[in-house]
Symmetry: D3
Subunit: 238 residues, 6 copies
């Protein structure tokens, strides 16, 4: 049975990665996953957060936000409410953790790379698109550091990409769009490396709990999708 947009259950949406999207940033990408569009920029700053002071190491951090009308209904800006919304905080912590796993902070040296992920149009999977696209922006920023002689060796040690999987109407699905996601019984975001290992799994069964065999099926779907995403990253970075 095909999905609303004609995909099979194990098919990713079309993915497009446009590099050098914002001229000012050291790395910048527009990633499109179906109708989800995220601008990911990587900004290098020659300073570290206080907890890395004099450690000889750098830091990777991320910020995530949506334009007010990235969604069907307009959202108030955080600054209007004077509160960073909880969902955004959760997501930016996830992006930062995921990208740090494939960076050698010693090789990066005492500098910070901030990955800003700004969703300009949302249709499900914005956090996983942010990781997949943010990775490419990060690599570009590191290449620029290396080409400018600021670092001797690329600090990026591997690939990392992410996708969502879930169970909707009783069926396991790869890469949920917004309507699938909002009706899903089980929803799961998976971050993996190019060594086919897990970096982060966030599985939630708000509408129904799930058993081990269902988890296993979902992880297989996720792995299949992430392998394809890493191929797309590799091609984009050529």
């Amino acid at each position: 049975m095909l999905r609303q947009d004609g995909r099979t259950h194990s098919q990713l949406r079309p993915v497009k990665i446009t590099r050098n999207y914002i001229k000012h940033a050291e790395g910048s990408v527009l990633i499109e996953v179906g109708d989800t569009k995220v601008i990911c920029t990587a900004s290098v700053e020659e300073r570290t957060p206080p907890f890395k002071k004099d450690s000889g190491e750098g830091w990777i951090t991320a910020e995530y936000s949506m334009l007010p009308r990235a969604t069907g209904v307009r959202n108030q800006r955080d600054i209007s409410k004077l509160k960073l919304n909880g969902r955004a905080q959760e997501i930016q912590r996830l992006i930062g953790r995921s990208l740090r796993t494939i960076v050698d902070l010693k090789l990066l040296g005492e500098r910070t790379i901030t990955i800003d992920c700004d969703v300009i149009q949302a249709d499900g999977g914005t956090r996983t698109a942010s990781i997949t696209g943010g990775y490419v922006a990060l690599v570009d920023a590191c290449r620029k550091l290396r080409d400018n002689g600021l670092i001797a060796k690329m600090p990026v040690t591997g690939f990392v990409a992410a996708t969502s999987v879930g169970v909707a109407a009783g069926q396991e699905l790869l890469d949920l769009c917004y309507t699938e996601d909002s009706s899903a019984e089980v929803d799961m975001n998976v971050v993996m490396s190019d060594k086919a290992e897990f970096i982060e799994i966030q599985a939630t069964g708000e509408k129904s709990s799930f058993g081990k065999s269902q988890l296993d099926l979902l992880l297989i779907l996720a792995q299949k999708g992430i392998e394809q995403l890493i191929q797309i990253q590799k091609k984009a970075l050529e």
Copy 2:
């Protein structure tokens, strides 16, 4: 003498207006003025601010923001500082005032249209690009209201567009890019209607005061540019 990008003193940068840029919004535009790129969305909400309660009239308001890396150096997000920066407030008040001059709020009825102007890449003239692009998004949102039978008649009563002019190295220039703007002795933002009348003039001589004859020259340049911008709006809206 030509300018750094090869323009004459009275020449606009290339302007491109892409309509329907964000699928969720009632009106949405990507406006590009040289390297300045702003996403303008118009969102309709069926409620009015308290001061328009039971007035039979609607309201037009605007919000303006920049992505952190829209500029050469990364800016902290407002929410990180818990303060909406003063420049942004000033600009969004200007955008709202300018667009309200060409809307019949009675015809709009008791609803609010919010124009969100999010700068994704900045190279001077972001506030004037926001007005010029925001106008087109506003018209599209009103057309949708009319086509859906929510309003009987278009509430938009005319055209409005804006540009900057200034004096740099002693020469009057139209449509300053960032490097021209940051070295300008006099800097001026002009908003005009299609009746060749002024809606707003903001002229600042922080580095040097300016005389009446210089003001007159600048206003002529501005008028010339705005006439062209309104032609571009008209073509985009066909």
Copy 3:
């Protein structure tokens, strides 16, 4: 090989649940998991959040905080920084989601139960202790509603408890204390129901990625621990 506190790799710390700990709250519990101590109160309010207005359904929400000196080093209060810290937001969203899975919101009726989880002493596993203890406080609050004739039937449809598992020094461990947690290569929080199904899995490999077989081992450990925790909840609620 025994752990620093003499436990085997698959052994929970001693767990103690003291009911009716705060006299004002409809439900209240002090849960102690080793040296981790959390006060969980369940407060009933006869109103719902706006998004549940006139739905005939109630809502369960949670807030999580630590006393400034619950940890080895004093933390500034959120209000001093005017920011709810990201970790706390993430955790309180998890607690809320987990507890909602076992509540029939229709049976609860149009009222809100807020589960406040305040950590008075932290030694690892504060979020999972909050879920396990918060569940008991929630049941007590529902019983009070039922005993007072405000609801006809208990809206709690099952049990939910949570624990952490992780890999430290290459070994899979159940219920990590703080020193184990801070050196863990893989860290995982698991929430399960009494039907031996998963409600939430949050697995993070910041220091090293992890394979499927390791994931399977950790989930078995977690399930074993949670079965015991549910027994402890049952005994406490007798």
Copy 4:
């Protein structure tokens, strides 16, 4: 005529001070005064506030807060409102001032001791319990500094304790519980030293003004109560 809990007008509620209540803090106490329960921790930090920079002196400061459900009705957390409530600010300033009177800041050296008073259950007299209990936590923290050789001599120069007195139903009462306090015509918090001298008097007659003779009677009651509280502190500190 006996009071609602069987006490005479000049009788304190049962007071219990449990030392070393939180394992991480340099000093920590659970003080129970009737049903009022406050966790007081004393945290030592090796830095001073800016206004004590290079003064050779240290500083004592206090923070006061209530758990949301310490009271009959749940209170929103300060961080939800982005405002530290006025009552809490007033109280923490009082606690800080009171405890500073019995500390030789020169002997303390350039370090700060923060007394965190977190009310876990409130039944009247939370501010005075915080002072009485905070004192004991402070002494414990100073002893630890001395025992670790960080200071040569105890900087604590005397005892300080506090209680409330008031007039309810025309009668002068010592140590008001919540129901007495909320109906009191005159309400007074008194802080005294072991030299039988006043450190702070805060007397309020919101419902009715009061004369000098009534003030005198209340001060005698307060002094009697504080003498007993200092005995309890002495016993606890043995």
Copy 5:
């Protein structure tokens, strides 16, 4: 021995009350006590705070602030720090409580009078000057309500005024100016009614504790000063 400004120990500074100082306010006063100058306005609003909803009663509240340069050193505005400073909160709560004691809230009806006390020049005793001056503004606002037929009868039931007393260089002093106040061993603010009864006493001995006989002496001084202040209020209100 005379004081630095030539006063005896029991002498008030010159007090001047100028009514109708701000044309927009229902009541407004400039009160000058020596070099301390406070603008007090009383604003009537036809609504009550939520906790007085449908009570048939009104409310009196106060706000207190200082201009940034009211003091020797410029203070940052609260809004720059996003925090209402603790001292101001404490003071405005005191002003509100004090003025409520002499208002019959039933007679006031369901409306709020806000007393804004803005210190334009500070030289000690700003909080007590705010009470003394705020009282006059409050009376004027109530008279306007009565003269406009909005209330049948004056809701003000008596007089209230305030002054400071303290011990400096071992001597009891009435009405401390800033230099006296900042070196005082004991500092006390006293609010009294025209029935020679106390409404509020706030006595603080941060630098040294104080005995009962000293307290008695200070209260006599305060009473003498307040009697004079009430005479000045009476004359101003003629």
Copy 6:
């Protein structure tokens, strides 16, 4: 046709500048323009903002605020809303820019002068009165610096004053009071130097756009008014 207060269309309201109004400030002025009254203080601080660090130059900045009851209806304080209102931000940026044009920041040296403009009574033209009055306070502060030997030479290089002009009921008017301003079709604030040159023009046609000839008429009116204001400044500074 005379205006409501008997003025001709080209007549300023009575202007009064009282120097040394606040004893603590290095410069301070009460400026009265009709019923508009603003306290302007100039505070010198021996530090610069970060962006002027080690530049050898100083900085001039301004803050603008209104007392809550400076207007017909009481306004909530910014701190109650935790937001600096947009209008105030816009105005204080304008004041700062305007005053910086006539200060040689090199001669000022590495110090900051903050001009605080606090409106105690508003009747139109508060921003322009703040510039005109703030200028005098600034000169006084610079004179004090010079007289104390802290700077060798006056850094103030000229005069600056400001007024409003506008079109109401079809007539061009100088120096609008509040009722004129609120019904004006075109509203314009003009800042000029004593060289009869423009420093800032802010012209707004929210109710109706305006042509070039109307602009010219308004600028002539403004120039006439500003010439008089500069005479008043000169006289005040003698």
